[in-house]
């Protein structure tokens, strides 16, 4: 973890080597613009679909990192935010004819609020207990939704073509959703950076290191943890709304897919937990790797095996991930590569 490095970068006590403090957010925005525009310029739908998935993954991994990387709480069921956000948004769009963006934001707000209330309770559990409970949360919510008739029970909710009309028809809508998802990804990264360099983030990092010691130093741990949990819910929920709107269908198995939750953890470990860029790098590499492997039918069966091997290798041999490795190798990069 490299908090000290960014404090230096903000004009600390080593005047010899300073990087202007706005450089990193600037880089994120430039990256986001390129990410959004390249498939558009290339007018390549295949590239767009691949990038769209990458944007979703980066969003999921970046927000999950707030809990795993900063606060040190392992959330195995992070995907529950994505799924619930999707359901709320799709419901608002189909039943109440809300505009997409508003519906997605409402989904984000609702899920974030739910996480705040629920988090206040569940975050009393520590370490392994919390991790176990999060698996249970996702399973219980999935079962609940599968039995919840207003949301179509096990069959889910379908969107008709009418739903895409306000956005200028399905073709335009797909491009629009893509750009919105890229925006969500960029905002997630900016939030991750803002939190990491803030007093709030410092409190989270302290909790991640030693919760009892942090509390003795005055960190109001229950409140900070609940806020982090809630913050980590917002953008995944918004992304879920956009993603399932685009898919045209939402049903419990796809919405609360524990595998995706776990893959997000693999991405974080691959890139480097506790850093801003780690989940980004990890998610991008993982998505591209997966796309490459999926083209071969024998390997596609073994996707889970490969993800597992990758995760095990990272945990055992390179717990700092790719970004951690780069930091170790070239310490100066810490200032730029957050």
């Amino acid at each position: 973890m490299n908090v000290s490095a960014d404090i230096e970068a903000e004009g600390g006590h080593k005047p010899g080597f300073t990087v202007p403090r706005r450089v990193f957010p600037g880089l994120i925005v430039v990256f986001g613009l390129l990410f959004g525009l390249v498939p558009y310029w290339a007018d390549d739908v295949g590239l767009r679909e691949s990038f769209l998935l990458a944007a979703v993954y980066i969003t999921l991994a970046t927000n999950l990192n707030l809990m795993i990387g900063y606060t040190g709480y392992i959330n195995f069921g992070n995907i529950v935010f994505f799924g619930l956000g999707g359901y709320v948004c799709v419901d608002l769009v189909t039943r109440w004819h809300w505009p997409l963006v508003l519906a997605a934001l409402a989904g984000g707000a609702a899920v974030s609020l739910l996480a705040l209330v629920f988090g206040a309770g569940i975050l009393r559990l520590r370490g392994a207990f919390f991790a176990l409970a999060t698996i249970g949360v996702n399973e219980a919510v999935r079962q609940f939704v599968a039995n919840f008739e207003p949301w179509g029970g096990a069959t889910g909710i379908y969107l008709t073509f009418d739903a895409y009309e306000p956005l200028g028809g399905p073709m335009t809508a797909l491009w629009l959703v893509y750009l919105l998802l890229v925006a969500v990804m960029v905002l997630s990264l900016l939030m991750s950076y803002a939190i990491k360099t803030s007093k709030f983030g410092l409190g989270l990092l302290a909790i991640g290191q030693n919760e009892d010691a942090a509390s003795v130093l005055g960190v109001r741990t229950p409140r900070l943890k609940a806020l982090a949990y809630s913050a980590s819910a917002f953008f995944p929920a918004v992304a879920g709304g956009l993603y399932f709107f685009k898919s045209g269908i939402i049903e419990p198995t796809g919405a609360f897919d524990l595998t995706l939750s776990i893959e997000a953890i693999v991405m974080i470990m691959l890139g480097g937990y506790g850093t801003v860029t780690g989940p980004l790098v990890g998610a991008f590499v993982y998505e591209e790797l997966r796309g490459y492997l999926l083209t071969s039918p024998t390997v596609s069966q073994l996707q889970l095996v490969i993800a597992g091997l990758l995760l095990l290798a990272m945990v055992l041999f390179a717990p700092g991930g790719l970004v951690g490795f780069i930091h170790q190798r070239w310490p100066r990069t810490r200032a730029i590569l957050q």
Binding site: M1, V3, L202, Q209, N210, D212, V216, L217, G218, R220
Partner: protein
């Protein structure tokens, strides 16, 4: 002198063991009060009860006029009561600076990051960690970690500091330096409640001493009075090492300096 911390009839039981029994004492503003007693006397438990690690079975803890009995540790910290642990608990992955910043930003004043940095700069100078400010806390030496415990607690700008065996495990030179630091802290108006086994330090540092045995109040008074108190000597008889410490320190402390 006004009373800063008042402990009233505190009791705590763990299973069949009465760790603290009906204990009362007070720390005055600006005072250094030492808590002594043989191993297992319940000293650290008293600290845990004061700063809210766990609630007492009965009794009250009054700090600066506010009842803080059983409040969570962070709330106690916000009242201006900081603690340095016997077993150092550095936030190992964070730098010395960040460790101290946590103390400054979440302590009594809840400073902003910028204001917190100012306080940290001052404090690391005082405790002598200035050169190691960018080092990960986990990489510090034992003595360094002890200093960090102190620095972090101090960064919260507390009114009272609980020091739990901050001298244990240090060599004589380091002890001398640490004692200087503690004196400097008091000179800045911070009251101190200290648990220590290094009797020499207790005798030279503290204004008053409270002796405990088996969780009970045994004796109270000036260092010399307590060291010569028959009940204290008796309690320490089971521990020849401490006994000899006691003798050495009483004789040396009574010499004019």
């Amino acid at each position: 002198m006004s009373v800063l911390l008042e402990v009233r009839a505190l009791s705590k039981r763990f299973g069949g063991v009465q760790a603290v029994a009906d204990l009362s004492f007070a720390v005055a503003e600006g005072e250094i009060l030492a808590l002594i007693g043989p191993n297992g006397a319940g000293k650290s438990t008293v600290f845990n009860l004061i700063n809210g690690v766990f609630p007492p079975d009965s009794g009250r803890v009054i700090f600066a006029g506010a009842d803080i009995t059983g409040k969570p540790t962070y709330e106690v910290a916000h009242h201006g009561l900081a603690r340095a642990h016997q077993i150092v608990q550095p936030l190992a992955g964070l730098s010395v600076l960040d460790n101290c910043l946590v103390g400054a930003c979440y302590g009594r004043d809840g400073l902003s990051m910028a204001a917190g940095r100012e306080v940290v700069r001052e404090v690391v100078e005082l405790v002598g960690l200035k050169e190691r400010i960018d080092m990960p806390a986990g990489a510090l030496t034992t003595a360094g970690k002890k200093r960090l415990e102190l620095a972090r607690a101090l960064c919260g700008r507390p009114r009272l500091l609980l020091l739990d065996e901050v001298l244990a495990g240090l060599n004589p030179t380091e002890i001398e330096r640490m004692i200087e630091v503690i004196r400097a802290i008091r000179a800045r108006g911070v009251s101190i409640l200290i648990i220590e086994h290094v009797m020499r330090a207790i005798m030279s540092l503290s204004d008053r001493v409270v002796a405990l045995n088996l969780g009970r109040h045994l004796a109270e008074g000036s260092p010399q009075q307590v060291a010569n108190h028959p009940a204290v000597i008796e309690a320490y008889l089971g521990d020849p090492k401490l006994m000899s410490d006691l003798k050495i320190t009483t004789t040396s402390a009574s010499e004019p300096s």
